[in-house]
């Protein structure tokens, strides 16, 4: 099948969902109110609370949620065939992510722009706040571990990306200082910055061999794998970067990344349209080796970002909700943001499945789940290289471009992840009364770096990424649990407002079943392999999942009891004056 047909079909389904399903959710489930005074107006301060045009806010939201994860997960999940991967991306985006991101914005807007962590305490109970903190701790630990591994792996396999990526650091600082000091329009400096960055790609390609030789020499002198050396360097970078004020490096990097996101999407979809590539991977992989992880439940946690991601609830509630001009804009910003991410995930599936050189090439690349996990991003960068060749750029340069984009995203995510983890570590230390750690930024930073560093070094040796695949699945599980917590908050909020929460409950139940099922199966796998580190991690996340199910169940039960007590059961979707008043509160 032509790849362009696949891309257009996905976009057409998204358009239909936006036209028919999103209005149902907006009107019947969330009860959007054009007259509601949003926090952006009520608390306008010109910084955090600022009414923003919905198209611009969509841009902010989309660039905040999109990153390396919606690329990596789908690239691995094509192991089961591109059909199941794409089906979950589309269904997840429409029925889970659309409801989740959109709902997180709405609930936050109706609660003065509070974050999902605070809302979990307000809407469910105080214990839910602790649960949220623990889930976020595991999520950030796994994010930092997997992204460090991803960057290390990409550097080891794409030494041509090393020079552009290291050049990006002073470039970002320079652009940041220029715009900060001159206060002039940023369009020209942005174009110059992106052009300079991409001019470094041929330079990186020219010096790839000496860079690789240097890294290999240092690694062998230290008796390390090249990838391990890069992982150590990446964590050293994260340790230093997270000690700098955000505006010095993190924000200018993010600024360059947001340009790169749109350029990458244009290269992929433009290349697919021009190049006439055909999907050559099997629709459904029927040649999986025995003992491979099954589609149920593992597909649904291998693709987290790109189908549904709990991380989005943090952005939706923490930032986007405070800038929403009108209550009704939540549908556009929330749903379109998820569809943008779904489009990026679709691009990833197409890149690893189209024009790869036939079914034999697929069988070789996706020989088993470990090979898919270790090689997924590499296949993606090669795919983007193929698409870039439609524009007359060599496939090798195109692949380095893709590696630069993915590493830039992953490095920024890590920088943010380590920063956030410091505060989570301090908060948990406060909870368990370890005062020296709770009061030391150095101490919490060291913990925030060392714990994921230890985990990212687990997938070493000659396991061909098997252990990385396991880490990735644990990351996906934790991400889905975060989404589950956000959906539980939204479902309780909807139920209390006497509206029908089925649209929220359905993805909530599905995610909780898939995550607990996956965690349960993995417990057996880890125990059988005597992998006690991952067993302990899995068990801890499993306990959190069960805890979440209990809290969500109790909160929903109470919400329904309250409704029954008020004698309004069955009047779920009836518009009422008091319901509108309740919504406005």
């Amino acid at each position: 099948m032509p790849a362009i047909v696949v891309a257009l079909t996905v976009l057409a389904v998204f358009a239909l969902a936006y036209r028919f399903y999103a209005p149902y959710v907006a009107e019947k489930v969330y009860g959007l109110d054009p007259d509601f005074v949003t926090p952006a107006h009520e608390f306008e301060d010109g910084v955090d609370y600022l009414p923003t045009n919905k198209h611009v806010l969509f841009g902010h939201h989309f660039t905040s949620v999109a990153g390396a994860a919606p690329i990596l997960g789908p690239a691995i999940a094509v192991f089961w065939g591109w059909g199941p991967a794409l089906a979950w991306i589309v269904l997840g985006t429409v029925f889970a992510a659309g409801v989740h991101d959109f709902g997180a914005i709405v609930v936050s807007v109706r609660n003065k722009g509070k974050s999902i962590g605070t809302l979990s305490s307000d809407v469910i109970n105080g214990r839910a706040r602790t649960l949220f903190l623990l889930i976020i701790f595991f999520l950030l630990t796994l994010v930092n571990a997997v992204f460090a591994w991803v960057i290390g792996n990409l550097f080891a396999n794409n030494p041509g990306a090393v020079i552009p990526i290291f050049f990006e650091i002073p470039l970002a600082i320079g652009i940041g200082q220029y715009i900060y000091r001159t206060r002039k329009a940023a369009l020209i400096p942005s174009i110059v910055g992106v052009v300079l960055l991409y001019l470094m790609i041929p330079v990186g390609q020219a010096f790839a061999t000496p860079v690789d030789a240097g890294a290999t020499a240092v690694a062998s002198a230290l008796s390390l794998e090249v990838r391990t050396l890069w992982i150590l360097i990446v964590f050293a970078y994260a340790f230093i970067a997270c000690r700098l004020p955000v505006w010095v490096l993190l924000q200018p990097r993010d600024f360059i990344n947001s340009h790169q996101l749109f350029i990458a999407l244009a290269v992929i979809f433009g290349g697919v349209a021009i190049g006439g590539f055909v999907m050559e991977a099997p629709l459904v992989n029927s040649a999986m080796p025995e003992g491979s992880p099954g589609i149920f439940p593992f597909l649904f946690i291998t693709i987290a970002c790109g189908a549904v991601s709990g991380f989005h609830s943090l952005v939706s509630s923490g930032t986007t909700a405070k800038q929403l001009d009108r209550d009704t804009d939540a549908k556009y910003v929330g749903v379109m943001g998820t569809m943008g991410e779904g489009a990026l995930a679709t691009a990833s599936v197409i890149a690893v499945a189209a024009g790869i050189g036939g079914a034999a090439a697929f069988s070789e690349r996706y020989a088993d789940y470990g090979a898919a996990s270790a090689g997924g991003l590499g296949y993606f960068t090669e795919g983007v290289g193929r698409f870039a060749s439609s524009f007359g750029v060599s496939a090798e340069l195109g692949a380095i471009f893709a590696a630069v984009v993915v590493i830039s995203f992953a490095a920024t995510t890590m920088d943010t992840g380590v920063r956030l983890q410091r505060y989570v570590v301090q908060e948990i230390a406060e909870l368990v009364n370890v005062k020296p750690l709770a009061r030391s930024l150095w101490g919490s930073t060291i913990v925030a770096v060392l714990v994921p560093l230890g985990l990212s070094l687990v997938p070493g040796g000659d396991e061909r990424g098997l252990a990385f695949g396991r880490l990735w699945r644990l990351f996906g599980t934790t991400n889905q649990l975060t989404a589950g917590l956000a959906l539980a908050v939204i479902a309780v909020w909807v139920a209390r407002r006497r509206r029908n929460p089925t649209a929220v409950m359905a993805p909530l139940v599905f995610l909780l079943v898939m995550t607990t099922y996956a965690l349960f199966i993995q417990l057996g796998e880890f125990a059988a392999d005597s992998d006690w580190l991952l067993f302990g991690l899995d068990l801890a996340i499993f306990v959190l999942a069960v805890w979440l199910i209990v809290e969500a169940g109790l909160a929903l039960y109470r919400a329904y009891q309250d409704r029954a007590g008020e004698g309004v059961v069955g009047a779920a979707d009836t518009p009422r004056a008091d319901q509108r008043d309740a919504d406005r509160r």
Binding site: D45, N53, Y180, Q251, S258
Partner: protein, 93 residues
Amino acid sequence: MSHQRPLRRLADGYRRVVSFHDALFVAPWRAGLERESRRQEELLVTLVFLEALGVENPAGYYTLELYPELAERFHAWHQDAGMRRAPEPGVCC
């Protein structure tokens, strides 16, 4: 005259692109800068007005003379912090 119109249209178009680019890409970053500068300012105001908040200030003797300079900012700070009136009567409102 007639050739000036397309040029003007081009210039207007460029200005619109610049403004859209600024709103889309630069605004979140500028907000970050504003947030950072506001945090620093709030820290200074809090330190100077520590005694007004009921906390002993070892540098109070020296910071006292900054009160008139910062009183207005302190007023904005305590209102932002959810205190309608200043905790210490006589400092501002």
